[in-house]
Symmetry: C2
Subunit: 238 residues, 2 copies
């Protein structure tokens, strides 16, 4: 089993292999929020890349989540906070979702053999899923406008540690070594470590700091979100 | 003064700013070798992206260095080892040079306000140069086929440490934090640290391991290689 970590959506063509299991992560907050939606009973998440498309869905009566630059878009029902998506709101519904970075990462890798959505909340569930069926896994970090970020790389390091405790895992490239070393430095106090990162002050400035602890909590959900290329929707794997 | 680190040539569009001083690094070995050529008296280095162009220069009588996948190309006079470029060979001559990753990084950033070539060998000279004239510095890592690598990121961390000991330096993005943390882990024994990296076994397999120590030695050269966009040549800054 080989694990690689692609640090930016723009680099996926250089990390891609034919038999990829891709795990898209956008820890703050899109991928965490998608896991939360499906856990709370949304039947599917429809990721869309641009605002106009999201607006057209809204006009048709869909529940729409939309965020740009850490803020909820005015026209949308919800933003990018997991707490926007309560069971009362999403159970039995499809949710249209567009965010600054997360949906871009999904579009970039939608041709992968298997595309999953990852977060600390479902990391254990993902590992059990991958051990059963994956040979070459790529953690695809959503980053920030194609720049690399700390929190998504740290997830990659955590994923390596957990996976390699259960299977023999080879490094796909130096980015796994880098992520693993960062994770060793950060894991004792992830929250304090990430206060010195690009995105933390953006979350503070946009009153989203209350989401941080939830986004860093491991193994709170057992859902494995799987992208279905046929209809371009994300559903919980049965 | 702001320092950023772009971890792959393909990401430069996302790190680019108008007033950039870009420092292209390809520690193993192209950028180290360019510094060595100019130190040994080459009047200019002409970086070319493709093999056919290098062959045309060769037919015109130029001294040509060419490497692909860690090996010297058969048609060329020299490969990518600094030791190929002795003073006897290069003094007073222009050297045409093409390598797997280094020349690609130069082409990607040739529109920068100022484009320099960096290596551990001239790190102190670069810092003195940048303190005089730069506001926004981007260390552009050549990487490996657009994937990020350890040794170029480590240079970025070393550059941050040295620069911030002389000036107040702001982090351009999380990649500087990442590089700085890696450098703290590696700096006591850089050679041992890098034996666990993607490129080290490639150097061993291609009998280039003798170049490693030279490439990791700091402050052995005082040259500052500067790219001249008008004629697309790299010369020592006077």
């Amino acid at each position: 089993m080989i694990l690689d970590i692609c640090p930016s959506p723009a680099l996926y063509p250089y990390y891609q292999q034919e038999n990829d299991t891709v795990i898209v992560v956008d820890i703050f907050r899109a991928s965490t929020t998608i896991c939360h939606m499906l856990h709370n009973g949304a039947t599917a998440v429809i990721p869309v890349a641009d605002i106009d498309e999201a607006k057209r869905y809204k006009e048709k009566g869909y529940l729409v989540g939309a965020e740009r630059n850490t803020r909820k878009c005015d026209f949308a029902d919800c933003g990018n906070s997991p707490f926007d998506y309560t069971a009362e709101r999403v159970k039995g519904r499809e949710v249209v979702f567009t965010t600054t970075n997360g949906t871009m990462a999904i579009k970039q890798s939608e041709d992968a053999r298997e595309l999953l959505i990852g977060s600390f909340s479902n990391i254990g569930a993902l590992i059990s899923h991958c051990i059963e069926r994956s040979e070459h896994i790529v953690v695809l970090c959503a980053g920030w406008n194609n720049r690399i970020n700390m929190e998504d790389m740290l997830f990659g390091g955590a994923f390596f540690e957990r996976l390699s405790s259960r299977r023999r895992v080879s490094f796909g490239s130096d980015s796994v070594r880098i992520a693993q070393l960062l994770w060793q430095l950060a894991k004792k106090d992830l929250l304090t470590f990430l206060q010195e990162s690009d995105h933390y002050p953006r979350l503070v400035a946009n009153s989203a700091v209350g989401d941080v602890a939830y986004c860093l909590n491991s193994d709170t959900l057992s859902v494995v979100p799987l992208y279905h290329p046929a209809d371009k929707k994300i559903r919980a794997h049965p």
